[in-house]
C-alpha cells in the first residue's frame, strides 16, 4: 500500500451487515441514520469484532464506520442530542498549495475519534474549517447538520481547543475564562467550577504568562468545557500535560463520549491516542488515508509464514495487498482478507506454514499509512 493511494476504509467483517453504518454522502444509510432519533442511533447493538475478521480495505472515497457503541452510563448528565460532525468533500488551498484535498469523513456521537496525520497534513486547517475560523474553497463542514456559524450560541454546542497559546500573557486564567463566560452568557460561578475541574483553582489569579505549557493546556481545556458543550473538538490537547493530566484528559473525554457526546481529538502522540480513541481518521497531504474503528484497524493485518515469502509477496501485491517482511519467512499482509491470502498462496503453489490475524501498534500502522517508502526524506521527517 502506498501512502497516497485513494482512500482506504476499514469496514465491518463479511457477513456482518448490521454492524456498520455507511454515513457517506449519498449512501442510503445516511438518510436512515439521520432520520432516526439520536437516541435510537445509540441503541444499536455494539458490534463484536473478531481479530482477523476485519474486512479488506476498500478503495472507496467514503468513510464507513461501525455504529456508535451504546453509552454505558447515561446518568443524569447524559447528552441526549448527540451531534454528528460531517466533513463533506472539503478542499482548501493557500495559493497553489492544496492544504486539504477533497476530504470527507464523519464523526459520530458517543465515540472518541482521533484525527491523525503528520505535521502539515492539514489537520489544524480542517478543524478550523469545521469551526468557521477558515473558509473552505469547496465542500462544507457541519455539526449536527448545521454550519458552525449557524449554531445558536455555538459555545454551548461545541467546545474547541485550537491554539494552546490563545491567552494574553498579562491576563489571569480566571479573567480569561470570565471574558468567555461574558461572551457566551454563562454565570461566573461556572468559571470557578471549571477551574476546579481542570486543576487550576490555585493558579486562577496568576498571569497566564507565568503558566507552564501543561497549565495553559488545562486552561484551554477549561475554555472548551465552559459552555458544557455536547461536542468537543480539540487540537493536540495532550501537549505538555504531565501523566496525571493525560489521565485526567483521557477520563474526561471518555466520560464525555460515554454520555453521548462527540469528541474529535487531533494528536500526534500516537501512544496516547491508542489508549484514548475509538475511531481514527488519518490524513496525509490533506487527503483521507484511512478512517475506521481503531480496534479493527489494528487487527486488519494478517501474518503469513511461507516457504517462499518473496514470491508470495509478489503474488499478493499483484492482487492489491501490501506486505512487510516479518522475520525470515514471514509477511505482514494488509488490504487483503485472510481467506484470500490462503487462496492466493494455494493457487500459486506456495506452502504456507502459518496464517493468522496480526495486531500491530498504531505507530506501525501510522507509518504505513503516511510514509512514502520511496521518499527517504519523508521517512526522516516522521
Amino acid at each position: 500500500m502506498t501512502p497516497h493511494e485513494p482512500t482506504r476504509v476499514v469496514g465491518a467483517g463479511p457477513g456482518d451487515p448490521a454492524a456498520e453504518v455507511d454515513l457517506s454522502p449519498g449512501s442510503p444509510d445516511v438518510g436512515a441514520a439521520r432520520d432516526q432519533p439520536d437516541a435510537q442511533r445509540h441503541d444499536r447493538e455494539p458490534r463484536s469484532i473478531h481479530p482477523g475478521e476485519g474486512a479488506p480495505m476498500t478503495t472507496s472515497s467514503t468513510a464507513t464506520l461501525p455504529a456508535a457503541a451504546p453509552p454505558t452510563d447515561l446518568g443524569r448528565t447524559a447528552i441526549t442530542t448527540g451531534h454528528t460532525l460531517e466533513v463533506d468533500h472539503v478542499t482548501k488551498r493557500y495559493g497553489d498549495h492544496t492544504v486539504v484535498d477533497d476530504l470527507t469523513f464523519t464523526v459520530l456521537p458517543g465515540r472518541v475519534t482521533g484525527f491523525l496525520g503528520p505535521n502539515g497534513s492539514g489537520k489544524s486547517t480542517t478543524l478550523k474549517i469545521m469551526l468557521d475560523l477558515a473558509a473552505a474553497d469547496h465542500g462544507r463542514a457541519t455539526i449536527g447538520g448545521h454550519r458552525y456559524r449557524d449554531l445558536t450560541n455555538p459555545a454551548h454546542t461545541v467546545g474547541a481547543l485550537i491554539e494552546s497559546d490563545a491567552f494574553h500573557p498579562g491576563r489571569s486564567g480566571r479573567n480569561h475564562l470570565l471574558i468567555l463566560a461574558d461572551a457566551i452568557g454563562i454565570p461566573h460561578a461556572r468559571v470557578d467550577d471549571i477551574l476546579e475541574q481542570v486543576g487550576l483553582a490555585k493558579a486562577a489569579h496568576r498571569r497566564t504568562g507565568a503558566y507552564s505549557l501543561g497549565m495553559r493546556q488545562r486552561l484551554g481545556l477549561a475554555a472548551a468545557l465552559l459552555g458544557e458543550p455536547d461536542v468537543l473538538i480539540l487540537d493536540e490537547p495532550g501537549n505538555g500535560l504531565d501523566p496525571q493530566g493525560i489521565r485526567t484528559l483521557r477520563d474526561l473525554l471518555r466520560t464525555h463520549a460515554t454520555r453521548g457526546g462527540t469528541v474529535l481529538v487531533s494528536s500526534h502522540l500516537l501512544a496516547e491516542v491508542e489508549h484514548l480513541v475509538d475511531d481514527v481518521i488519518v490524513i496525509d497531504q490533506g487527503r483521507l488515508v484511512t478512517h475506521g474503528a481503531l480496534c479493527e484497524l489494528l487487527q486488519s493485518a494478517s501474518l503469513v509464514r511461507a516457504a517462499d515469502p518473496n514470491r508470495l509477496a509478489d503474488v499478493l501485491e499483484q492482487h492489491g495487498a501490501t506486505t512487510q517482511t516479518e522475520g525470515t519467512d514471514g509477511l505482514v499482509v494488509r488490504c487483503m482478507d485472510i481467506a484470500e491470502i490462503g487462496d492466493r498462496a494455494f493457487s500459486a503453489g506456495i506452502a504456507v506454514r502459518e496464517l493468522s490475524p496480526h495486531a500491530g501498534s498504531l505507530e506501525q500502522l501510522f507509518l504505513t499509512w503516511t510514509t512514502d517508502p520511496t521518499d527517504p526524506e519523508e521517512v526522516v521527517q516522521l
Binding site: 494574553h168 479573567n175 457566551i184
Partner: protein, 248 residues
Amino acid sequence: MTMTRLFRAELRKLTSTKMPFAFLGVLGVIAALNAFAVIAGTDMDGSKAFIATEADQRSLMAFAANAFMGAGLFGAVAVAREYGHHTVIPTFLASPRRARAVIAQLGAVAAGGAVLSIIGAGLTVIAVAVSLPTTDYTFLVSVEHVVLIVSASGFAGACGAVLGAGIGAVVRNIGGAVTSAVLVLIVAPPLIVQLANGTASWMPAPLANVVAGVGNGVSTPAALAALAAWAVLPAAIGLIAVQRRDVV
C-alpha cells in the same frame, strides 16, 4: 442580547490587563508636564503671556488633539494584541458571525479611548488649575468651556481609538499596528497637506481643536463629522478584512 454580552466581554478584555494603566500613567505624566510648564515655563520674552488670557488657558488645556493620537495608539494596541496573542480565536468561536464581534470590540475600544481621554483632559485641567496659583494669573476658563474641553477630548478619544482599532485589525501585530498608527496620525497629515492644498483644516489635530473650541478652520458640525470619518474609514476596512480572512 448577543451584542451586549460581546460588548461586556470586550470591556473586560480591556480592563483585565495592565495596558490601560500604562496609558493612565502617560496621561499623568502629560498632566504633570502641563503643570510644570505653567509653573516654570515662560515665553521667549521671559513673560508668562501664554497663560495670560482665558483663550490662552483654554488652548493650553485643550486635550482633544492629544486624545485623538493617544487613543489611536491605544486602539491599535488593544486590537492588534488580540491577533498577536490569538485571543481572537475564542472570541470568534463564541461569535462566529465576526461582524458582531468586531463591532462589539470597536464599541469597547471607543469607550475605553473616550474614558482615557476624558481622564487625560480632566487631569490636565486639574494640573493647570492647581499650578496657576503659583503664578500671577488665576484660572479664567468658565465651567462651560471646561466641560467642552473634556467632552471634546472624549469624542476625539473615541474616534482615535476606533481609527487605531481599524489599523490593528488590518495589520494584526502590535509593532506593525503601532507603527502604522504613528504613520497615519503623525506622519501622513503634514504630507497630505503638502500634497493637497486646502486640506490642512481637515487633518485630525485641527479638527480636534475645532471640536474643543480652540480652532476655527471649519464649522463644529463639519469637524465632528470629519473626525468621525477619520475613524470610520479604517474601521470599515478592518471590519471587511476580518470577515474575509482566515484566522491562522
